[in-house]
């Protein structure tokens, strides 16, 4: 029941927004829809904690602690962004950005309809990724997230946004076709299982119980293809090049969703295959590959952050860095690494979405996303945004006492404990590089002297959502609610395979 309701809510929201004629109706549809979605996600998490797993339709839909955590994070971010988007898009409408960049003569309301319809559809496909038991269906849902978000990237219709969308569609398309190939090969590896029938042949919950009997040679090839495919979607180096373009061209609330919830989805798909592969071949083979890609992604982010001129692209490189961190944690494996991964995913989702929203405030007020043109003064013009921006940035670069310090510390510790000394050392080095670069640029922008800038007007929707998320960020640094911590522990147990 709960799963059906969860699946229906975004679809109804999208339909309501599509058929609405007035902006207010679309806004209300999105706000109400995502609020309901969030409550249902909390209820699902509660049910999973109580019952272990929830499944529906003969196991076609299947949610364990890992899925429930992903859904909870997705729901939280989408509710936050729905509230923020109201203020953000109204401001865009006021300044006439939506009208003047009109290629095909549609009015601003058509753009708004596109945004308010595609966002619930994007959330729906992300939900589908996490509840689909069949790995092939999961692939189709991941592809659907790409398709739903490509058009969001072209929202402003600028030349550069078309370029970003094209790069995203092509790299995403090629990447996901590799992932599909990997899925086909995995299906082949499972095909020879005794008693596997055509329908359940790709069901994860079935495969994971027979992982030891899967054809080893095929699983090896499947994992390589899957890693390249979903890795491109997660923005691992060297398939990361679409990320800075897309995150700096998409509307800010969409960029916030894509850099947190959608990244989680791509990693989720990778994690499901990692669990299968490590049970089939042992954790060394997938672990080594993941560590290589993780280190490469972390390393490649450093120079780009250090010389970055544009703060939204800087945030994108930081996301590449963090997807590298998470893949590294997955590669280290064990309960400690997996716990670090799950904690990091949660904390990163909170902090990075907050950062993008702050960047959106600055962008709308100053009308540029280049450091050199802002020259400081954010603190004077918009003190609230300035404070939250700096705080969230400190959190993201791993400054104690914020939460990401704890998860990164846990991951480094796991690296040393399990003998990956080189990984641990590089992790700290790259982390220091990103820390220096990001802090240097952003603190200059926020605290710098700056010129004469008008104070920002009241922004109730945008600042309200900012403050709400900032409170969450501060609180989880010191205290995680018991049930959430339990959910994170169980999700980590699913990843490391210490449960039944």
């Amino acid at each position: 029941m709960l799963l059906i309701a969860l699946l229906l809510v975004p679809v109804i929201t999208a339909a309501a927004a599509y058929f609405a004629r007035r902006r207010v109706v679309m806004e209300i549809a999105n706000l109400v829809g995502f609020a309901a979605f969030f409550l249902l996600a909390v209820a699902l998490a509660g049910k999973v904690l109580a019952d272990g797993t929830v499944s529906l339709a003969n196991g076609f839909f299947y949610a364990d602690a890992l899925s429930a955590l992903m859904i909870l994070l997705t729901a939280g971010v989408s509710l936050l962004c729905a509230a923020y988007a109201v203020g953000y898009l109204r401001a865009d409408e006021r300044t006439g950005v939506l009208d003047e960049l009109d290629a095909e003569g549609d009015k601003a309301i058509a753009r708004l309809r596109m945004y308010y319809t595609l966002t619930p559809l994007l959330v729906f496909s992300m939900l589908f990724v996490t509840v689909a038991n069949n790995l092939g269906v999961m692939w189709a849902a991941v592809e659907a997230t790409t398709l739903a978000s490509v058009l969001l990237v072209t929202f402003y219709g600028r030349i550069t946004s078309l370029e970003a969308a094209w790069k995203y569609a092509i790299i995403g398309g090629v990447g996901l076709s590799m992932a599909l190939f990997g899925t086909v090969v995995a299906y082949y590896a499972a095909h020879q299982l005794a008693g596997s029938d055509a329908l359940a042949g790709l069901n994860w919950s079935v495969l994971v119980q027979h992982a030891g009997q899967l054809d080893k040679q095929s699983m090896r090839l499947a994992f390589v293809l899957i890693l390249l495919g979903y890795g491109a979607k997660a923005g691992l180096a060297p398939m990361h090049t679409w990320k800075p373009d897309v995150y700096s061209e998409a509307p800010v609330p969409s960029a916030a969703i894509m850099s947190t919830a959608m990244l989680n989805c791509a990693l989720y798909a990778l994690i499901r295959f990692y669990i299968l592969t490590s049970r089939c071949l042992g954790p060394e083979f997938p672990g080594r590959l993941l560590l290589i890609f993780g280190m490469l992604s972390m390393g490649i982010a450093v120079p780009f952050v250090l010389v970055q001129k544009n703060y939204r692209r800087l945030l994108a490189y930081s996301t590449i860095d963090h997807s590298g961190i998470m893949v590294t944690a997955l590669g280290i494996g064990s309960m400690m690494g997996s716990l670090g991964l799950m904690l990091h995913m949660t904390f990163h989702t909170v902090a990075k979405s907050l950062l993008f929203l702050c960047a959106g405030n600055v962008y709308q007020h100053f009308g540029t996303d280049v450091f050199a043109k802002i020259k400081g003064g954010v603190m004077k013009a918009m003190p609230l945004t300035g404070v939250v921006f700096l705080m969230a940035l400190l959190a993201v670069v791993g400054m104690p006492p914020f939460s990401l310090f704890q998860s990164e510390f846990l991951i480094v510790r796991a690296a040393f404990v399990h003998g990956h000394v080189l990984v641990g050392v590089l992790f700290v080095l790259f982390g220091a590089g990103v820390f220096t670069g990001a802090l240097m640029h952003v603190s200059g922008m926020i605290l710098g002297p700056g010129g004469e800038v008008a104070a920002a007007p009241k922004q109730p929707w945008r600042n309200g959502s900012l403050v709400a998320m900032a409170v969450v960020l501060v609180v989880i640094g010191f205290w995680i609610p018991g049930p959430l911590l339990e959910l994170i522990h169980r999700a980590a147990a699913v990843v490391s395979g210490y449960t039944s």
Binding site: F60, A103, E104, N134, G136, V137, W139, A140, A141, E143, A144, L147, V150, L151, T154, G157, I159, T160, L162, E163, A164, A165, W166, K167, A169, I170, G173, V174, S177, L180, F181, T183, V184, V185, Y187, Y188, H191, Q192, A198, L199, G201, L202, Q217, S218, P244, D245, S248, E249, F304, V307, Q308, K309, N310, R313
Partner: protein
């Protein structure tokens, strides 16, 4: 009737058709006009539908018939119509300009086909009688070659629409791989994949249209403003 159930005959028919699919893929590499490119894609997809139907017949797997029909509807009818209308709307019939010239491209495609056979060998286990690769062992090699050649074609093309066509022919390779390795994926997965192919074709053609409108060209090498 008995010879119609003979697996060896089925294998030969499939091998023949897979070879034709490969020929069409190489023809696509050599083709310079975009409308012809679309026609070749439709013909290739029609052959894939025929392969699916043949496999369904010889292995008594009725759900593969549905896959064959879906291939006909989506890839032979809908997607080519969509692209032909797009070509008419943006009024282009100009030549595709490959980066590597045609003779060299064909030679490279030949090399990639060889590579496809080498990779496919690792899946071939003649000792396992139950293995579905008994039927269509060549088809898998062709599938991997299609994948690699499609990949190469994408890199080799500057025009947005021909990149999309290359991406779709790459997906045709995956389809062939799925069907020759395991008689196709479970039906629900195939449905999802077809839905995605259709939506992807629509989304990409919207993008191509807008790129054309904005740049007065489909040359994606002009898309180079975002850096660093």
């Amino acid at each position: 009737m008995r010879h119609l159930l003979d697996l060896q005959l089925g294998d030969r028919i499939i091998t023949l058709m897979a070879a034709l699919v490969l020929v069409l893929q190489i023809a696509m590499v050599a083709q310079r006009r975009i409308v012809a490119h679309i026609r070749i894609f439709a013909a290739q997809s029609a052959l894939l539908a025929a392969i699916a139907a043949t496999i369904a017949w010889f292995n008594h797997a009725p759900h593969v018939y549905i896959v064959a029909v879906l291939t006909l509807v989506v890839k032979v009818v809908l997607v080519p119509i969509l692209f032909k209308r797009l070509v008419e709307r943006i009024k282009i019939s100009d030549e595709i300009e490959p980066i590597v010239n045609v003779p060299l491209s064909v030679v490279i495609s030949g090399g990639l086909t060889l590579l496809g056979y080498v990779v496919a060998e690792s899946f071939y286990r003649p000792d396992e009688a139950t293995s579905p690769t008994g039927l269509g062992h060549n088809a898998l090699a062709v599938a991997i070659s299609l994948f690699l050649i499609g990949f190469f074609t994408m890199i080799n093309r500057r025009k947005a629409l021909s990149q999309v066509l290359a991406l779709l022919s790459l997906e045709n390779g995956l389809f062939l791989a799925a069907i020759s390795l395991t008689y196709g994926m479970p039906l629900i997965v195939e449905l999802g994949v077809f839905f995605d192919v259709l939506v992807a074709a629509m989304v990409l053609s919207i993008l191509v249209y807008r790129i054309r409108e904005t740049f007065e060209s489909m040359d994606v090498s002009l898309l180079r403003r975002l850096r660093g």
